[in-house]
Symmetry: C2
Subunit: 345 residues, 2 copies
């Protein structure tokens, strides 16, 4: 009864061509507006396309041409951290506007997950990959090198990237924050963040921070790294734990603003005044900062712009334009009012 279609019941180009009484090559040319056909033929083919509801099979096109697809694989550690949600949004918007599709990979901060995801996604012949972080497993690195497609490592700026890199220097950013807090007179500075099996940007940042604090004559940094998401509640209970272990801490630096906010709330419940009793510094200048009663001391990083920049580098490379291998997106210290003000000289 029904017109014959293939096994998956999809209309193929041959069917359109047959319906229009032309060869599939002609139909193919019409669909790609390649020219070499009469107006009459074009209209006829397009009418049949419409009538049959033909949708091209891009798999076949890519496969036939031995091309890469329009997919771009994007790996993100987790979406619970608003920072990465923003980065992803920036990437996908820009990529989408250039006709590319994002294939998502949530790596849960582990190299193993990342490696598995890379292997799978490469089998789909993606046009390129955007990866969060610069630490990859040995096998992953090998696959990436052999893939022969553009790769952008984001977030943690990599001066010798696999291919391209965009982000900020987390060591420097951490160092600047450390120096600022020391300059504000703090000496017993604590840190509350999260950690995972793998080193990441937060690790690098903390290293820079410690260096500044110690170099500036500050006391040894009391660190607390939770095995949790870098979100509000971990900031709350992390603060509780840190202060229980080190009651002398006079200022806490958090992995991000969400955690810092959690810390602020903990302080409030204990009647600790900020910044007179304790200083609080966050990271990322997340949207919530805009509505907080006190301006949160933080480090502004343009996350959406970072994502867009990564997508732009990818697109630039794919269209053959010369693209710098390394792009520093910059950061900016937000002095805020949740730490004591530094002496003005």
């Amino acid at each position: 009864m029904a017109e014959k279609t293939n096994k998956t019941n999809k209309v193929s180009l041959s069917q359109v061509a047959k319906a229009a009484g032309v060869s599939k090559m002609t139909a193919s040319r019409v669909l790609r507006a390649e020219g070499g056909y009469s107006d009459k033929t074009r209209d006829l083919v397009m009418q049949k396309v419409d009538q049959l509801g033909y949708l091209p099979n891009r798999l076949a096109t890519v496969f036939a041409g031995d091309q890469t697809s329009t997919f771009v694989g994007v790996s993100i550690p987790d979406l619970g951290n608003e920072v990465f949600a923003q980065v992803l949004e920036g990437i996908d918007r820009k990529l989408g506007s250039f006709g590319h599709q994002t294939v998502l990979g949530l790596t849960q901060h582990t190299q193993k997950e990342e490696e598995d995801w890379i292997r799978t996604v490469l089998s789909w012949q993606p046009a390129g990959l955007i990866l969060t972080g610069r630490f990859h497993s040995a096998r992953a690195t090998e696959m990436l090198r052999n893939a022969g497609i553009p790769i952008v490592e984001i977030w943690d700026l990599n001066s010798s990237p696999l291919d391209m890199s965009v982000g900020i220097n987390h060591f420097d950013a951490g160092f600047d924050m450390g120096r600022y807090l020391v300059g504000c007179g703090y000496r017993q500075i604590g840190y509350v963040g999260t950690s995972h099996d793998t080193a990441n940007a937060a690790t690098t940042r903390l290293a820079g921070f410690c260096k500044a604090v110690e170099g500036g004559g500050g006391g040894v940094t009391k660190q607390l790294c939770l095995h949790d998401t870098a979100a509000y509640y971990p900031g709350f209970y992390g603060t509780e734990q840190l202060l229980a272990a080190h009651p002398d801490v006079d200022c806490i630096f958090y992995q991000n603003d969400a955690m810092a906010f959690g810390g602020l709330q903990f302080a409030a419940t204990k009647g600790l005044k900020v910044p007179s009793d304790i200083g609080v510094a966050g990271w990322g200048d997340l949207p919530i900062a805009a509505v907080m009663p006190q301006r949160l001391t933080s480090m502004h990083v343009p996350h959406l712009k970072l994502g867009q920049a990564a997508a732009e580098m990818m697109i630039g490379r794919l269209s053959g334009e010369p693209v710098p291998t390394c792009r520093d997106i910059g950061f900016k210290l937000i002095p805020g009012s949740t730490v004591r003000h530094p002496d003005l000289r």
Copy 2:
């Protein structure tokens, strides 16, 4: 000099086969562990796979078999709203653990974007689609019907879905919240949310809310719908605008907790006490609620679970299991302490 590879410089199965001195069919069988080869041959092929760094081209497999891929298209309105970030995380984790890949589509709350994305993603022969919302353009609906693949509409429960649906009934949820606030004695209730060209779950929820408020003898709801993201700052300035226009409002219902938090902060800056001067109710029971000094009156919806449930329905259907077409994930009112307590009878 170099071993010959194809144009894209990738190692193909034929090359592996040749290196191992077998036909590519045998190599194919080894890779799929299909049997029908000797141990010696298996080891030889696997050794060459390793040596040459062969990665299969899944495009070819899918294409050859006239199968669908392991891609699942997932459309999400935006990631600035934490709710959707959580849903996406739930989906991708579950999908990933079953060997599927998420192809992301950010629709920016417009049917046009959604339609374009659907057209593109269908051309990649996805295994299925997960779409946020139940309102689609006519053309999109047609394409979806013809696609012949599993489709899950999430978030806004659809009793007559295209295929499957999981979420909550937003009308009922809005109604319950409205009834609760009326029960708390509020009569001049305002609403602050966002709106877009297309009706969505928030629209439905607001309709249910209004019905309850009006039916309960409350005054006409003062609504304010911003063209913005449902986030902290819009909650802040939306509150400012609403109160400027309607100073008599005694309680505000927000589109989500982030906006409600923005509203709370605005109230604080104006010296308005919550809940004695003004009641505040949010929606979603987002993570930030866990660290707020006052328990925010809200509606708990299990976002992560919702995402996982959507992925499970998809996977169930793909593996041929019987799957219900409709699944209500449920919601739960969080009475909180940011509204006056209702009279206990």
